[in-house]
Symmetry: C2
Subunit: 497 residues, 2 copies
């Protein structure tokens, strides 16, 4: 067995492995500001792919992009009590709008009349706008989305997963009826599921949050829950039905068809750069990142092998010709993204670089391949040194098939891992505690739960939460995992990021 | 002459007219936070068009997108003295990272060890990263770009033109030599010129800033200067050669090919949502916004005329069929963007709505048009009630021509206005003062200038600045407009936004 490309394996230390993948793939790093990351080009290109796929679906489902201010006045935040409670501990506060130099040191000057909070999310700002914009039922539904940065002060930051500043989209909608708003909430969760599962190939459990895990101010929170390769859960996206809570706080009222004043029903939903962390922890292996083809910025990287300068011209020409022919092929409705890496370095160094970055297919073309019209093909889902030698023409005509193969392999592997790490035979609370207590006891447990809110805290003692009440219920009954009483509801229990 | 769609004309009050265009086109509004705007869907779609066109060119010229933190530690800002001086007065400062409720009021708690500035621009943050990332000449050039929000506290805000928070892109590059960095500076100014002039159809004067108008910390600032319809200048984009100033401050060094340590040469360049303001003030008329076709989110809006419910089916079908045929046509390399407005409102109301939003072409199709295969066509560059009745087939095959016509007309009108408002026959400083002194004395004056820095302040007395030293010089000599001494350099003088 060849040595792996990373200095640490998943089995040895998952947290360190994660950092090493991010570093080796050159995706991001910590900045000098606590909890704030620098997203480097490869990490950002992956985020841009996610953005593009998601934005298309957000538009197709009838939402308009817009942009609301970064700052929220304290008095506005204060209007929705449970919302304040949820975010107060992690809000960055702007108190001054000028600096002066005093004794060679810059100091804040010119205090603001009212301190401003850097948005942790924009329900309050957008709610205030809805209150101004919505007058009659004709204005409904109002369906907006914004791509933005938000700040939630983070004491234990991890790149992509938990950062004080992160990038996301937040959708905000207002509806005439609860039914419409609930439809919207579910529609957007399905959009998230489609992008994260069908495109990013992260197996998901969609479901609803229990009361203790809901978004501050929400009536219902819907979620997609994924399992990382250390058996922990990652909440990959959430969609909230806010009922009339924010409508009451901001007085978002409309005149209905009968001339009566009513409050709207609102929703909000968001996914963030955290998805990139989920991608890494779902598909990465001990050689680095592995990218599903729909997400990969480059699907095929072509490396010229030039040992002798006289061969440079024809080899480079063959590489660019191949890239061009590949770009005329399609995968998942888009032209194949092929990239010729002409940097001045050895092919082996470059190949290992792209392996660590997770590119699905790597081709090498050298002088001897020219005569035969062949190439050396490496697939990211096979061991790193395994290669085949297809004819170029055959490779071009089969490229969509090769990408499909990668796509399927990544998804199947992730599903198999999740299946291994999921138990539905934990009989009672003591057995549950025994399962999860201890550092390496992770995975999903599917169990029955009575749904009594006061029982939710019980899991906290061993760091477990109810990840969701899955949409897909078995329909059977059995003893509640906490109280032992007869219960019909399945829940997913896990330790989570 | 028909009444105009806006309550005020450009001639009556340009500043109020501007606000009315933004309001009537539903582009943006002030938020509850001083100086921060809400960009509404129509305004944001226009910004997205600008983003897409610009981002394509930024990538094609070899730059990678990435993302740096929103917050900058005070100690980092402090490193480059002239940079600090330029921005200290307008920096928003985060001093706390928590809120607590005291006597029913939210109060900032948990002071930060070091206050953080909300980025006014990212030279210092990116310079610090460059210093870590760049080791040898092989790492150069390093060419990055980010799309982000920035904050410069603004006491007299105007939508899009001057807001405390704005959206922009900022490019940051590091090079081995001054020549490479200067090439980059000019290349990116040309990219800006291309998007702003060839696509947004804003006539521009590209040139260099005089010392007094340079970016804080820059050795050279290059600019594109536009003239608004009140005769004032708008700086539409800038590209800075920063020399080794930021390299010195952040110690961005590299080992050259001879093994010697050297400092890099850096550049930075940016355009912002201010461009949207420039678009409005260049092309708007007394009926509202007028959009050049390349920028228009919808190039053709199709309005069904339904007076009788029985006609709804066939009319809607004809409208959607027309939209589909238009989408198969191309303008400027992209499919024509046609939109069927099926909202439940009168065609006249809807038509006026789209006129105010600046859509280039509006088509109406009613029951009588169906038999004839015709439509009613309104062009935004013609008087609002003027219409023609082309056959649908003819309109479809000519649509690119109609769009081209709008494109050219807007550019020619803007150039003609600028020519009218430009003088190159102002003989001396007294004449210059007489020209500009007084509320309505605006426009561009092209004059000779000795280039002596101490003479720059002279114009301040009547609110004029040197907008730029145009690349296109006449090559003649004449008396300096300030000192009267023989001078060879042409400058553009104007009052500016």
């Amino acid at each position: 067995m060849a040595k792996n490309a990373l200095p640490v394996t998943r089995a040895e230390n998952f947290a360190t492995w994660y950092q090493e993948v991010v570093r080796a793939a050159d995706m991001a790093e910590h900045s000098g500001v606590r909890g704030c990351m620098v997203i480097k080009p490869w990490g950002y290109k992956i985020w841009e792919r996610i953005q593009r796929l998601l934005d298309k679906r957000i538009q197709e489902t009838g939402h308009d992009n817009c942009y609301f201010p970064l700052f929220i006045p304290l008095s506005l935040i204060q209007k929705e009590a449970s919302h304040v409670e949820g975010f107060a501990k992690e809000m960055a506060v702007v108190t001054h709008h000028r600096l002066v130099m005093e004794d060679g040191q810059l100091k804040p000057a010119a205090p603001l009349e009212e301190p401003l909070v850097v948005r942790p999310t924009s329900e309050t700002m957008i709610g205030e706008a809805f209150a101004r914009w919505i007058e009659s039922y004709r204005d409904l539904p109002m369906k907006l989305n914004q791509w933005a940065n938000v700040v939630r002060w983070e004491m234990r930051p991890r790149l992509f997963l938990r950062t004080s500043e992160f990038l996301w989209q937040e959708g905000h909608t207002a509806h005439a009826t609860a039914d419409d708003a609930l439809d919207e909430t579910r529609t957007m969760l399905e959009v998230y599921r489609e992008v994260a599962e069908d495109m990013m190939r992260i197996p998901l459990i969609p479901g609803q949050k229990s009361a203790g895990e809901r978004f501050p101010g929400a009536v219902e929170t819907h979620t997609i829950e994924a399992m990382m390769q250390d058996g922990r859960a990652l909440q990959a996206g959430t969609s909230h039905y806010l009922g009339q809570n924010f409508a009451k706080a901001a007085n978002i009222a409309f005149q209905d068809e009968n001339g009566q004043q009513q409050l709207v029903h609102t929703t909000s939903w968001g996914v963030s750069t955290r998805l990139v962390g989920g991608l890494i922890m779902t598909h990465g292996d001990d050689d680095g990142l592995r990218l599903p083809p729909i997400i990969a910025p480059h699907q095929v990287v072509i490396l010229p092998i030039i040992r002798d300068e006289s061969a440079r011209g024809p080899v480079m020409e063959a590489c660019h010709a191949l890239a061009k022919r590949l770009a005329a092929q399609h995968y998942a409705g888009e032209p194949v993204r092929a990239f010729v890496d002409a940097r001045d370095d050895s092919a082996a160094n470059k190949r290992w670089g792209w392996i660590k970055k997770g590119v699905p297919l790597i081709c090498e073309i050298g002088p001897r391949d020219l005569e035969k019209g062949a190439l050396a093909l490496y697939k990211r889902t096979l061991p790193a040194n395994e290669k085949s030698f297809p004819e170029q023409e055959v490779f071009v005509s089969h490229v969509a098939h090769h990408l499909e193969e990668t796509d399927t392999a990544l998804f199947e592997q992730a599903k198999a891992y999740r299946a291994e790490q999921t138990r539905d035979d934990v009989p009672d609370f003591d057995a549950l505690k025994a399962h999860f207590d201890g550092e390496h006891k992770t995975g999903f447990v599917r169990a029955k739960w009575s749904g009594k809110p006061e029982t939710e805290d019980a899991f906290g003692a061993f760091g477990v939460t109810i990840r969701c009440i899955p949409y897909e219920q078995t329909g059977t009954t059995g003893p509640c995992i906490v109280t032992g009483e007869e219960a019909a509801t399945d829940v997913i229990l896990a330790k989570a990021y």
